[in-house]
Structures are given as C-alpha cells and as structure tokens.
Symmetry: C2
Subunit: 413 residues, 2 copies
C-alpha cells in the first residue's frame, strides 16, 4: 500500500540544505511506493502543530522550480531548535499527526542535534512496532559530523571564507602602512572553517598569514609575538580566527562566552574584537576586526558546485534508503579517491552521529599552532570546486520564494 | 615627439578601479602618441619616491593578463591618502620626476580627494607652462561624486549589499521567532549604498523592512517605534543603516565618531552595534548587528558587469582626452535613457568634482525617513545588472598577482 512521505529541516542554515531537499523531493516524486510528499514547516515543531505543506503540489512536473530550490540557500521549510524529550506523550503526538497524514517515510535534514531527533524517533517506532521509516540527511557548515567524510554545507562555507579572506587581502594590500585585519569565522569547537581560509593563498597572495583553530590552546603572548613577526615581513597582516578559540584552561577568548543556547552550547561572538583590542594595546598599529557572521553560511551566490551536487545526491540516497525499508540511518559519503576526487554514497547508523563531534586532527595543525598543514589543504581543496549556474534576475540571484515561512509562522505564533 | 604616460590610483578601493586601469592601459598601448606606459605604486606618494613600474612591459600583447586585471578588485598599483600642499617645492619634486621619465600624460584614478590632486596639479602646470596633460578617472563606492550620473565602483558595492541583505533575509527567515538583524553599510554623508539594499526585495522577499540614510535626521524614538511596528507584521525584521546617520543636532549615532582621518573625515563604525543595544534594551527580542565592512567594496567575485564595463570605458575616455590635449578634466558619463539603459561618455572640468559631494535627493527618500522611493530604485536598478565572467581556478576567483605591492612598499618603508 502506498504511503506518504514527510520531510523536515532543522538546525542552522547552510547554502545547500535546499539542494538536499530538492534531491529528496525529486527522488520521492519518482517513487511508486510514495504517494504524496509533504513538508513540515519549522521542523518537528511544525509537525506537532500540523503546520504542513504539500510538496507534491508545489514541485510535481516543475523542474525549473526544483532547480531554483536546489540553488537557494537557507531552508525552504524553515527550521527549529527543538530537542525531543523522553516523554512518551511527545512521541505519541508526533505519531498521531503522522498517522493522520498516512506518513510511512520520515526524512529529516539537519546536524548532530537533528540526528539526535532521527535517532530517538527511530528507536521509539522500533520499540512500539510502528510502521515508519525514519532517515536523516546530514548538513552543517561546521564539518563536525562523524560518520561522513565531510558535511554538506561545509564546502560552500569554506569557499565563502577563502574568498572573503582573498578579497580582504586584496583590499588591504593597497596601503603602504602597517595594518592587521582579523577575520572571525564560525566554529565552536572545530576549526574546519577557519582552516579552510588557507585556500585563499594562491596567485601570489600569501594571506592569511596566521590561522588559529579551537583545537589547540590559544596563548595571547604567542599571538602578539606571531603578529609582530609577520608585521616585520608584511605591511598588511591577515589573521583568521575561529570564534571558539580557548586558552590553556579551556576558557573562551571571547568576552561573551557566558550565554548558552537551548542545547547548552555556549553562544560565541566577539573573539575578533577581543584580539583587535589586544593588538591596539600591545602593538598599536591600525587594526580591524571583521565578522562575516551569517553571510558565511547562506552565501548561495558563491556556493561550491561539489557541495551542491553532493547535498542533492545525499537527499536522493536517503529517500532510496527509506523506501528500501531502512530506519535509523542517515545518508553518507566516503572519499574513494582524492586525485581525481571521487566519492561513493552509503547509509550509516544514525546513533554514531547524534551528539558526537569531529574536530580537526591535531596532526593537520602546524607545530606552532598558527596554521594548517598541506594534508588539511589537500582534504579541503576538492570540496570548494565548481561554480553552479545560479539563475539571475535583475542583477541578483533569483532564489525561490520563501515568503510562506513568515505567513505560516504568524498563523500559530 | 612621443611622450610617456604615467597612471596612478588613490583613495579607497572598489571592485572596478582595476577595470579603469585596464581600459586606460589598453587604450594607451594602442596610441601612437604614447611611448611607454608607467604606473606609480601607491599614488602620488610613490611618484615622489620614484616607486614606478613599467606597465608596457607587463601588459603589452598580454590580453589575458589585461582581462584578469579588469576583473580583479582593489588596486593593482596600490593607493595612498595624500593631500597635496600649497608648497611649490612639492610640485617641483613631482614635475622633476615626471620630466626624468619623459611623462607627457598624467592619469589619476580616484575619488573626490584624488580629483583635488588632479585639479591642483593641472592648475600648477597651466600656471607654469609645463607640457603635461593631467586627467582624472572617477571612482568611489559612495556614489557621492558630482558631475557624473553615478560613480564607477558604486554599482558593484550596491549589488554586494543588495545580495548580502537578500541572503541574510533567507538565512533569518527560517526561525519562527521574533528577531531583528541590522546591516550597517558604508556611507559617511551619502546613503546611496544603504538605499540600494532595496533591490533585495524581489521574488517574495520583503526585506529590508527599514532603511535609514544619513540625509535625514535619525530619531531613536522613531526607530524603536518603526521596528516595533515591523515586528507586529514579520518574525524576522531586517534593518539597513548607513554608518553615517546623525541625530537632529547633527551628531553621529555611532559611539565612535571622535576619530578623524587625514582629510578630516570622521571615522565611523559601530552604528549597527549602537542600534543593536538600543533594541536589546527597549524591545528585548533577539537582535544581531552585521557590518560587511571592506567586503562590500572589494567583492570582485560578484561585481556588476555594467559597472565593470563603464569603469573600463571611463579609462579609455580619459586616455583619449589626454592625447587630444585636454588637461584638468575627468572622464564622465551621463545616462541618455533609463529603459533601455544607455549612457554616453564625455569629459568634465575636474574643479567641479574636487571636494564636492552628491547626496541622495530628499525627494527620493520616503516621508517617514525609513525607506527609499521607486525613483531611487529606478535609478539604481540598471547599475547592478550583468554578471562578468570572472576567471576561476581551484574553485576561487583567479585574480591577478598583486604581490609587487608589498615588496615595493617594503623597499621604501
């Protein structure tokens, strides 16, 4: 008997989560086993509130709309940050909505917190003999997911940061005065994004001159000494720093490390500003701190084609797995060759990814703790390659309309 | 008798100053009247120090290198911020270097401070009967130059900001909670860049919801009331604000308005942060301030083809004018038609642009002082159109090598 599928998105945005959604929708629309494809607005929250849209109606036989979806950043279905409790009543509510919509396949796109939802829900249905296939699709700009060679969304964020660092280097190269520019990237505990700025070095550009990752303790004295040494050689010194750098005692360098989000994560910002003040006080040259902030995670206009393509494929792989009868897994990929770059897709047990974290191997950080090694760069380089053909209109990317998000949320807010 | 040409760049960078340089070089290399084309490194400063490179050697018969130059942001020749004094000795030094290099044509690319240099130097050579043709090429992201329909560099900055605002809007649309994002743009006294963010509104996107320009006095009470009203209608409210907004008494809203640069300009930043704190205190919802900073002026990867093309043409027009014997002028353009967009090029007396400033007409700002009118948008729209074919290598824009800048400046620092 045909069942319906429902898809949700959760966690923070990336440039390519909608590409995974497009892959999942395109695949689901072709499946004989699947009748209607639904989307939950604002993740599991929206499901509980029955805030549900019909994706079959929206995308069936509309390949150009699916293509626009594929190349639109952030989340067409909206997001939530909601941690499932251990209360049976919560699962019963979810299952009752799914039964009402005759859902047999539940697809959830997200990071390690979202995979926690996939894990818990799949265990609940197994324990209670409920006919529901629960499958995850991974995403995160942080590249900190285990069980996958690299996370969809990371390649585009890496590309954005490398590009921004290169353009800042060009911008600042023009003045014959000593200056320091500090670019703060996202990355709480993993320095993947900060490290990827090393890709900016090409064509005569030596910036960034210093890179600091959260995997190694940060010493203020060493930092000041590093910057002074670089200022002896270069007029314009570019420093990239991950928001989450910590001192020897494990305290965040950021002055604002005292707020936490719903999952208990410390909310960070201001690391670049703290370092800027240190340089002003201890060196005294011109210094500027830049924080690309959310621009680095939703820059669809400069996404990586490799990333867009892999995210799409991971969407199709998840739907295939669900229809095959898999449950409690997520779609994944492994690198089978680096030169030329090639990957293969598979599914992995979701319990290994939920709440786990993959940081940069210490051997990929140089001995001084202020740069990444060639091995790191070899790993990153293929992930930023290729320029997708983003549709343009009136000079700007012609992204798909997401105005349904604000309307829907208004209804139940 | 053949004479040589020397070209310099000055002031702040834009995405398309090198396109003007490419236009000037390409044109000069074709001229029978011109022997060698030189470049002064770091503007008039470098000229005085005889920090000079041979552009004929670098670009003659190298059309692909000229094309890379055309699409590389910032300044291939470096910049300076140097105001010519009224001392004869300074002009005598400049003229002695120019005579040594047999220079008959002096081309200077810059904003209104740089046009001041063109103005003064052209008056000096006229007064002293020196055979030197001094011609300016305009540039500035601020679009505040008079005597030209719009400034080269502005279209690309406008496009960057519109794009950034659209992507931030997508990023923030995903959460079903009330939030405010404040994006602070460059623009001391002119709100052109802030206003251009209105182009982000298309395809269902209504952001930015509020835009504040420095041309009208900023009221904190009105601002808080505006934001509260928008929060009644939308979950995610996007505010764009020019760095230079001032209160009724003419005081900058920025807390950091007490530093000045060499030209006496007040150095601004932090306006967005000040507004963020106001919202935190008086409204209390989630709020984030973003400052794209230098990223908005050197984003070659997303420059406007219209801008790149016009900047190139203004370079050729300036060289043509110099060879024709014009002096004390700058190359300019006027819009002959808006739909379809068309311009014509001409030269204008440089004294009208030096130290003058073109702000947004008050009738192009709405009555509430929190948005721009359709006339503003009609004026801006053609300027961001077109996507240049930026060459890519390994996933990133393959800009021309500018490492000569740091080497040269080391020599005389």
């Amino acid at each position: 008997m045909k069942k319906n599928m429902i898809i949700g998105q959760s966690g923070g945005p990336t440039a390519v989560i909608n590409s995974s959604l497009a892959g999942a929708v395109e695949s689901a629309l072709e499946k004989e086993e699947i009748d209607t494809v639904y989307g939950m607005i604002n993740g599991i929250n929206g499901l509980i509130e029955e805030n549900i849209i019909n994706l079959t109606e929206i995308f069936k036989d509309k390949s150009s709309e699916l293509n626009r979806l594929r190349l639109t950043p952030a989340m067409y279905l909206g997001s939530c940050r909601y941690k499932l409790s251990d209360e049976d009543s919560e699962y019963e509510k979810i299952i009752s909505v799914l039964k009402k919509y005759n859902v047999g396949y539940f697809i959830y796109i997200g990071g390690n917190d979202s995979m926690d939802t996939v894990d818990k829900l799949s265990k609940y249905v197994a324990k209670n003999g409920i006919d529901l296939k629960v499958v995850g699709i991974p995403k995160t700009i942080d590249n900190d997911l285990v069980g996958i060679d690299h996370s969809p969304g990371f390649g585009s964020a890496a590309k954005y940061i490398a590009l921004a660092v290169r353009e800042v280097a060009y911008d600042t190269s023009i003045y014959a005065i000593k200056s320091v520019h500090i670019i703060e990237t996202m990355g709480r505990n993993a320095g993947w994004i900060a490290g990827s700025s090393a890709l900016a070095r090409e064509g005569g550009n030596l910036a960034p001159h210093l890179i600091y990752l959260p995997e190694v303790p940060f010493s203020v004295d060493k930092f000041i000494s590093d910057v002074k040494n670089k200022l002896m050689k270069f007029n314009s010194v570019i420093v990239v720093v991950s928001e989450g750098i910590k001192d020897e005692s494990g305290n965040y360098i950021s002055a604002k490390g005292d707020k936490t989000d719903k999952f208990g994560h410390v909310m960070l910002s201001g690391t670049g500003e703290v370092l800027k003040q240190l340089i002003e006080e201890q060196i005294g040259c011109k210094v500027r701190a830049l924080e690309p902030s959310v621009l680095q995670r939703s820059a669809g206009h400069t996404s990586s084609l490799t990333d867009v393509t892999e995210a799409f494929n991971l969407g199709t792989v998840a739907v295939d797995a669900a229809v095959r009868g898999e449950c409690g897994v997520f779609s994944s990929l492994r690198r089978t060759c680096n030169k030329p770059y090639a990957v293969e897709y598979f599914t992995e047990n979701v319990s290994i990814v939920a709440n786990a974290e993959k940081t940069v191997p210490l051997e990929w950080i140089n001995d001084e703790g202020n740069d990444v090694t060639d091995e790191f760069i070899d790993y990153i380089r293929p992930l930023v390659r290729g320029v997708p053909q983003v549709p343009y209109r009136n000079g700007l990317p012609d992204y798909i309309d997401v105005s349904h998000l604000d309307k829907k949320t208004q209804e139940y807010s």
